[in-house]
Symmetry: C2
Subunit: 244 residues, 2 copies
């Protein structure tokens, strides 16, 4: 069971980005020092955001089938680099033998709330479905962190366009939309931006970094990777057990 | 069985690069049009090149265990983005229910041999183990293609350094070594270079493209991805079967 399980394909590029982060976060100078990872890249899972909004088919059956694939193969922990799918987190956890790391909990835990510094005001960029589900808002409320979500038209439209472009393979269009989404936050007093959809960091990487100003960007995919690698290194999964 | 299986982790970055190529080669504008892929990223497999050269432990047991993981999960074809592991191709094929696509056969098939054009002379860049195994040379001989391998010191040393650097996470050092490996080919009359180790394309991407001159670079990882995607699209695996 000494392997990481990744329920991926939502979308495929976000899964590749997540795998790359796992590799970069693992201290290794040769193949054999890396972490074993089983990835179930299952892009046919119905769109999570549409389902939450009641405009598309339910993905729960497909999500649980993916959880089964990973458990059957014997993974010791599961990471899901798709924020919106965490609407069904409780059902997936109940269905899984292996623990499932919560992407939003990992992400919110990363926000510095040191007293005495400039007050933190978090903008949550995510799909409309994830925002309607409300798990980011709940995690932030539980930690007493002030937050806002983008304006439903000017703001969220750019987030939607960004996610759609990256899923469609047009990262440059995604980057342009991401910059517009950040610009739309300028009057809100936001100091921290949660990239709460795993397509957003891909767009952010291609966007004009100088344009972010003093906004601190928190990458949900990176924070999930950090939590996952920490879990696996703590268990010693980077050390081959079957090699004599 | 309508899923691609990837036996990966040799090395992990090469596997991520291969997955990215699968995605880019798939005609898709949204998640649900992509191909399902199960990746067994198992970096603890002992070093393939050392084993072929008789200086390290045998990886065959680990390779077959990886083949089992993918067959147990129900994949319809297996791709292995590691050239040197193809030394054990016959044993893996015999052990696997799913067919295994041969990376070197895919790669050699991509070399244009149109009559009337400038004579093709192929340089094979690969690990010392893969060259000692000889499967690239055999595939080239079978098609009557003229080839050479780098000089064991000036030439192969740079290839070795390049692969080691990429596996160690230092892509820039890998790129510099890759450029030296190409330079060492300048007096050989090579017209085509097979990047017959899946770390080499990662270095090449970071290297000075202008420095390649008129050398045509063939990327073993890309050719394996092309063959794999063609196989899967032909079977219609990009069309979800379980969605009503």
């Amino acid at each position: 069971m000494s392997r990481i399980g990744v329920l991926g394909g939502m979308g495929p590029s976000a899964t590749v980005d997540f795998m790359e982060k796992i590799i970069q976060l693992t201290p290794a100078t040769r193949d054999q020092e890396h972490l074993p990872v089983i990835v179930a890249n299952l892009p046919h899972v119905p769109d999570r955001s549409s389902a939450i909004l009641g405009t598309g088919p339910d993905p729960l059956g497909a999500l649980l089938a993916g959880i089964d694939v990973l458990n059957d193969i014997g993974v010791g922990v599961i990471a899901i680099p798709c924020n919106s799918s965490h609407h069904w987190y409780a059902q997936m956890v109940e269905h899984s033998r292996a623990p499932v790391i919560h992407i939003a909990q990992s992400c919110v835990a990363a926000i510095a709330t040191t007293p005495g510094e400039r007050p933190v005001r978090v903008a949550v960029l995510a799909t409309r479905g994830a925002l309607a589900s409300g798990f980011y808002q709940q995690a932030l409320r539980e930690r007493g962190i002030d937050f806002l979500v983008p304006d439903a038209t000017n703001g969220q439209d750019h987030v939607d366009a960004c996610i759609r472009a990256v899923k469609g393979g047009d990262v440059q269009a995604g980057a342009a939309a991401f910059e517009l989404a950040l610009e739309a936050l300028s009057a809100t007093g936001a100091t921290v931006v949660i990239m709460g959809c795993t397509e957003l960091p891909i767009a952010a990487k291609a966007a004009n970094a100088a344009g972010h100003g003093t906004l601190m960007l928190i990458d949900s995919s990176l924070e999930l990777a950090r939590a996952t690698v920490a879990f696996a290194l703590d268990k010693g999964w980077n050390k081959p057990t079957w090699v004599s």
